[in-house]
């Protein structure tokens, strides 16, 4: 056996991926299994698939918020999804909602990644009821999943943060792997990551839940704090250590982390609900960039009217330079689409004066003067200006950007040709060649 061990010790495939963890001297005894339960304050829950730990905690914050129909409309409106009557009815009933967040053994996905802690939450008695299902070992997975399926049968509207791409596909995998518990059907799935990103990415850059708690929600009124919170990157290893008899304490931190994520998720919904339903506290100070984000979001989800209002408010509140011209541009385009051509032209002139995205403004003004005002001289002047600017800028652009610019330049050149044609027809003679050139190189 000694030589066999020796042989195995040389196999690269058996080299531990990281130096073996210092074994805790307090290895769990088999009868001590429930230290974890005691620490978590959890009970052993039993169903036909076996046992797992389950713990419930009720919190008074965040407080219940009734979902506003405007908000639901906006959140559930997706380009390619037609929302069914069943889904709408379920959505409008907050009792059917289930907030969900999982803690997993990795982020890689695939069939070998497990969700060892499934956090669930629902509105209850004006506050939030949080239930956490924990598998003490892989053997308890079926039992946990069975429980989750039961909750989802009762509350089939799933609310998550990045759950559409991560948590739910992973859980679907887990259900499929059981070959005995069917993947629960969802009435609807609201993923708050995308609206949150649309609303706050301009101001925050990254939109992790903890960033949102700190910058968007009011930290002092949340009722919890992230002090000493576990960093996500350690979570899988804490669990692996626990499985191998390591101490359960680090997992307490994970459970607390999960709890805060669930409460944060519910609180975030309250914030988005208020924002989209125009029920924000009138005293609360709004950030210009948040309004700009709101305008973008509303526009994408089809509420053009409110989008325009929010955008105008954003400009009024004042925006950083680069966003100012983007917002101006949006305003002008929205005005143009509504047929307010004069208003749009005014904004584009303003942009030119502020020296924002002047190329686009020139192009739009060229169109405006050609089609609306029929002032071909001015149109020609702007078309030439657009061409010149494009030319200068192309020198500093990368290959892909240059391709786009080339297309725009072609359009402007066509317009110039057409305008010159019109002008020569109107004056009855062709413009002298030299003059055209001159305008072209000013």
């Amino acid at each position: 056996m000694a030589t066999l061990d020796h042989r195995f010790s040389r196999l690269a495939a058996l080299k531990p991926a990281r130096p073996p963890a210092v074994r805790s001297t307090t290895l769990r005894e088999p009868c001590e299994e429930d230290t974890m339960a005691r620490l978590l304050g959890a009970g052993v829950s039993t169903n036909r698939f076996g046992e797992h730990l389950a713990v419930r905690n009720w919190f008074s914050t965040p407080e219940f918020v009734a979902p506003h129909s405007t908000c639901l409309q906006l959140l559930s409106q997706q380009r390619d999804e037609v929302i069914s009557r069943r889904a709408r009815t379920a959505l409008e009933n907050p009792e059917k909602w289930l907030f969900l967040d999982t803690e997993t053994t990795g982020l890689a996905g695939g069939t070998g990644t497990y969700a060892f802690l499934i956090g669930l939450a629902w509105w209850d008695a004006g506050g939030l009821q949080v239930e956490q299902l924990f598998m003490r070992d892989f053997a308890e997975e079926h039992s946990v999943l069975c429980e989750l399926a039961a909750r989802l049968a009762e509350r089939p509207v799933l609310v998550t943060f990045n759950g559409k791409t991560f948590d739910w596909p992973l859980l679907e995998n887990r259900f499929r792997m059981t070959r005995s518990i069917a993947v629960p059907g969802l009435a609807a799935h609201l993923d708050l990551l995308h609206p949150a990103r649309a609303l706050w990415k301009f101001r925050l850059g990254t939109v992790r839940l903890t960033d949102l708690e700190r910058e968007v929600l009011n930290p002092s009124q949340l009722g919890w704090h992230r002090q000493g919170d576990v960093s996500s990157k350690f979570i899988p290893q804490f669990y692996f250590d626990y499985l191998r008899g390591g101490p359960p304490e680090p997992l307490l931190g994970v459970a607390r982390h999960n709890q805060m994520d669930l409460r944060g998720l519910a609180a975030l919904f309250g914030k988005i609900n208020a924002l989209l339903a125009e029920q924000t506290d009138p005293d609360e100070e709004m950030h210009g960039l948040d309004l700009f984000g709101l305008s973008k979001f509303l526009h994408r989800r089809g509420d053009k009217g409110r989008a325009q209002i929010a955008c105008a408010q954003a400009v009024d509140l004042g925006l950083p330079v680069e966003f100012h011209s983007r917002a101006q541009n949006d305003l002008a385009l929205m005005a143009k689409r509504k047929g307010e051509h004069q208003r749009a032209a005014e904004i584009w002139h303003e942009i030119l004066a502020d020296s924002g995205d002047t190329i686009h403004a020139c192009e739009q003004l060229a169109i405006h003067y050609e089609l609306r005002v029929k002032n071909y001289e001015r149109a020609l002047e702007f078309a030439h200006r657009a061409c010149r600017l494009l030319h200068t800028q192309a020198n500093h652009a990368n290959f892909f950007a240059q391709r786009g610019m080339a297309r725009r330049e072609d359009l402007s050149l066509k317009r110039i040709k057409r305008l010159e044609g019109r002008l020569s027809k109107r004056t009855g003679k062709r413009l002298p060649l030299g003059e055209t050139r001159a305008t072209g190189t000013v």
């Binding site: 195995f8 495939a13 073996p20 990795g106 069939t111 497990y114 892989f138 070959r179 191998r244």
Partner: protein, 819 residues
């Protein structure tokens, strides 16, 4: 008649006349019969026909009819029938015998009868899958697109993948994608796995050695997942002609497989020629460069407008020959390049372009590595020229099969290099023409390979009690993996407990899965190609001349960490050749005995066991084009490579060395020469690729576990006689060039006597006086009398009374010890 008055042009004469012209030309220069050592004619063979089996769906029969297939070759009918009877089969036929129909017919027929049916087709390369896709698409269109067929590989755009998973009845993929992309995500492929009826393995013979050992384990995992979803898929395999297709299929699939090896396809007339470059210096055994000669032969064909495919055995030679042939056939103004290169490092679009050019005849010549050996459809060519023996009989026939695939007359020429194996083959044509091609072997239970796949398997599905991988009970291995932190036992099952994704770190084809990207900095930076990790160290080290598409590039910088090589276009008259050095340390000796069973008093030992091999590229030589002069060298500092593997070795003991009447440096040169010859003969005995065996010489260390490395080979070679140690008992190693070993060491240990005798005969039979590349290695690299010394050592190592006439027989007999 006006036709007979037509001007006699090259195109108007039949290819057979033009081929004969070329061969007659060679024969004229070859008065002693030393150049054309064999000219064999193979007559045309007529087709054997059979009707479509009665169970074939009428629509499918119509679709084939519309393609011009109204009846089947006899072997196609037999294969379809066997597949229809739910047997696992392997079909063995040469290139261009319509083997794809053998599997398409039964698979598509089943899909037409039950649209739930799913099938996976595995091809060793992406290019082959693309090629098949076109074929099946065509059939599908004639069936009103009744089923879905898609390729699923690294080139599949991610937004198309979901649809493909839903819609494909037939998934065309490769083992690597199955391994990293499909099996670890089997829950996304539920529909496929719940209805998986057929697995088609094309080009089965490519799955041998390391790749085959990996594939066997991937198939174990595939069957495991299919069973999980309640399926027991049936296998249909196709193989080129090898000696043991049934055995290989049986080992890969670990089940009974029926072999169908009758061939009913017609074949055109073919001439096979062995060409040995003329000797220029008999004393030194120097022949004309086989690369130049191969170019010369190819040029004779190209000149007569015969479409020609040239095979080289390395990328470097591909590029060299491409350069020569492009110079000889300058591009017509405004026309396309008529001579192109083709190898793995070219980008996919470039390769598709070349394949098309070959089919429509725009490209008149192509220089390729083994990449075109497999069944990619490039149409039929007139002639094939092989620069150097491809290493195996099977590969030689496979390459020769590229000429004249369907009709007409064709010619294949093997131009021998001065390597011992090549020389043996061309001087003994009966050995090649009279022997069955080689055996293909796999070693799926190599622990390194097995454990890596066990990890992947555990990621895919927890490993239950009593689960087996082939014959291996994996419980003990799982316990060890759990100990190392990869798995955790819960209840009766072992689960994966790592964040990382195990398949990503396991490459099926080489030691590491990293490729180096080659970036041309001449203009704006552009990626011009890729090289795999192991060849990167020798081809794109700093200051190397990297040749791509006939263009030379100087490697400016090798970013080892980022896996990037930055190159600039240059025009120089030399190429570079890397120098590698190797050290071996014995870890554990599995067996050790006196060297010879019949002569127990010989002061030498033979052994086999586990070793640690360290190798490093330490420098390079600059070699001038055409003359092959060495015009300079440089040192390199590249990271060291370490590998555990198995080795066979001979220890020469002090009394043996003392009995040799040579100076120390002659003795050392003799040992290197002997090792050179031993490796060549071992390759022949094992029927393996020369690259599968590594060689090194080292001192026998006082203690097997001594941390000090044995004296390394390069140092020894450079030592002059004064500095060399007075006495050491050297070990001559022949090791498996793959981590963990692929099972060559023990057979070599057992075949020791045969190996010694054959090697002795190889050296004795060679006409050179002081050593040449065909026996102990080129004379210039060795001390004078090295050949003599090598022979003297051999004389002491073996019984010199073996009858030479038994020579050929024993080699074929020696297969016995492999079963």
């Amino acid at each position: 008649m006006p036709e007979s008055l037509a001007v006699r042009t090259a195109a108007a004469t039949s290819s057979i006349t033009r081929v004969r012209e070329v061969l007659d030309g060679f024969a004229l220069c070859d008065r002693d019969g030393e150049i054309l050592t064999a000219v064999r004619h193979f007559p045309a063979r007529v087709a054997q026909w059979a009707p479509f089996p009665p169970w074939v769906h009428p629509d499918l029969r119509e679709a084939y009819k519309a393609k011009g297939i109204e009846r089947l070759y006899s072997h196609q009918a037999a294969a379809a029938e066997a597949a229809h009877q739910a047997k696992n089969i392997v079909i063995v036929t040469p290139t261009a015998s319509g083997k794809t129909l053998c599997y398409n017919l039964p698979v598509i027929n089943t899909i037409l009868e039950n649209s739930d049916t799913r099938a996976i087709y595995l091809f060793p390369t992406k290019a082959l899958a693309q090629d098949q896709l076109a074929e099946i698409h065509d059939l599908n269109q004639r069936l009103d697109n009744r089923f879905g067929v898609f390729t699923y590989d690294g080139d599949t755009p991610s937004d198309a993948r979901k649809a493909i998973r839903e819609k494909s009845h037939i998934v065309l993929t490769n083992p690597d994608m199955l391994h990293t992309g499909i099996l670890p995500h089997h829950t996304r492929w539920t529909r496929l796995f719940e209805n998986l009826k057929y697995i088609v393995l094309d080009e089965l013979h490519t799955y041998r050695g390391v790749f085959g050992s990996h594939l066997c384990n991937v198939l174990r995992r595939l069957r495991r997942i299919a069973n999980f979803y309640g399926c027991q898929p049936q296998f249909i395999c196709c193989s080129a002609t090898i000696a043991n297709p049934g055995e290989l299929a049986g080992k890969l699939l670990e089940t009974d497989v029926e072999v169908l090896n009758a061939n009913g396809a017609p074949a055109a007339e073919k001439t096979f020629v062995f060409y040995n470059p003329p000797v220029v210096n008999r004393a030194l055994g120097i022949r004309r460069s086989y690369i130049n000669e191969a170019c010369h032969v190819s040029q004779e064909f190209l000149k007569r407008d015969l479409q020609t495919m040239v095979f080289a055995n390395s990328r470097l030679h591909t590029e060299l020959m491409l350069t020569y042939l492009q110079q000889a056939n300058p591009q017509q103004p405004g026309g396309t390049t008529t001579i192109r290169g083709y190898r793995g490092g070219y980008l996919p679009n470039e390769r598709r372009d070349i394949e098309r050019g070959l089919r429509d005849g725009q490209i008149r010549g192509v220089v390729s590595t083994s990449a075109l050996e497999l069944g990619i459809d490039v149409g039929s060519l007139d002639t094939v020229v092989m620069a150097g023996y491809p290493g195996t009989i099977a590969a030689t026939w496979q390459r020769a099969g590229r000429a004249g695939r369907r009709s007409g007359s064709s010619c294949a020429v093997l131009v021998a290099s001065s390597a011992p194996l090549d020389q043996f083959i061309v001087r003994n044509p009966d050995y090649f023409f009279g022997n069955t091609p080689e055996h293909a072997f796999i070693q799926p239970d190599n622990l390194e390979i097995l454990i890596n796949h066990l990890k992947c398997a555990a990621f895919e599905l927890p490993i239950g009690p009593g689960e087996r991988f082939g014959d291996v009970d994996v419980q003990d291995l799982c316990a060890r993996l759990a100990e190392a932190g990869f798995l955790h036992r819960a209840g009766e099952n072992y689960h994966w407990t790592q964040e990382a994704y195990p398949a990503d770190t396991v490459s099926l084809r080489s030691v590491t899965s990293d490729n180096f990207v080659i970036i041309d900095l001449t203009g704006s930076p552009t990626v011009i190609g890729e090289v795999d990790f192991s060849s990167a160290l020798t081809t794109v080290h700093e200051k190397a001349i990297y040749i791509h598409g006939g263009q030379q590039y100087h490697v400016e910088h090798l970013d080892f960490k980022e896996r990037k090589a930055y190159v600039k276009r240059v025009d120089v008259d030399y190429y570079t050749d890397a120098i590698r050095y190797t050290q071996v340390r014995i870890l554990e000796c599995a067996a050790e005995t006196r060297a010879s069973d019949s002569l127990p008093e010989i002061p030498a030992l033979r052994s086999f066991g586990d070793v640690l091999v360290r190798s490093q590229v330490i420098g390079f030589k600059k070699i001038k084009f055409f003359t092959n002069e060495n015009i300079g060298a440089g040192n390199l500092e590249l990271p060291e490579n370490e590998m555990h593997t198995t080795s066979y070795w001979i220890t020469l003991e002090r009394p043996l060395l003392e009995s040799l009447p040579f100076t120390i440096s002659e003795r050392q040169s003799g040992m290197f020469g002997l090792l050179h010859a031993l490796a060549s003969v071992a390759t022949l005995l094992l029927m393996c690729d020369r690259r599968d065996l590594g060689t090194a010489i080292g001192e026998k260390p006082p203690y097997p576990d001594d941390q000090e490395m044995a004296m390394d080979a390069v140092q020894m070679r450079n030592h002059n006689s004064q500095d060399a140690k007075e006495f050491f008992e050297p070990n001559m190693y022949l090791f498996d060039a793959y981590p963990g070993g692929i099972g060559f060491s023990e057979p070599l240990y057992r075949a020791h006597d045969i190996l010694m005798q054959r090697t002795r005969q190889l050296i004795v039979a060679c006409a050179c006086s002081q050593g040449c590349p065909s026996c102990v290695g080129p004379a210039g690299d060795l001390a004078p009398r090295a050949k003599e010394a090598a022979l003297a050592i051999l004389d002491r190592l073996c019984n010199s009374t073996v009858r030479p006439d038994r020579w050929l027989h024993s080699i074929t007999d020696s297969h016995a010890w492999r079963h």
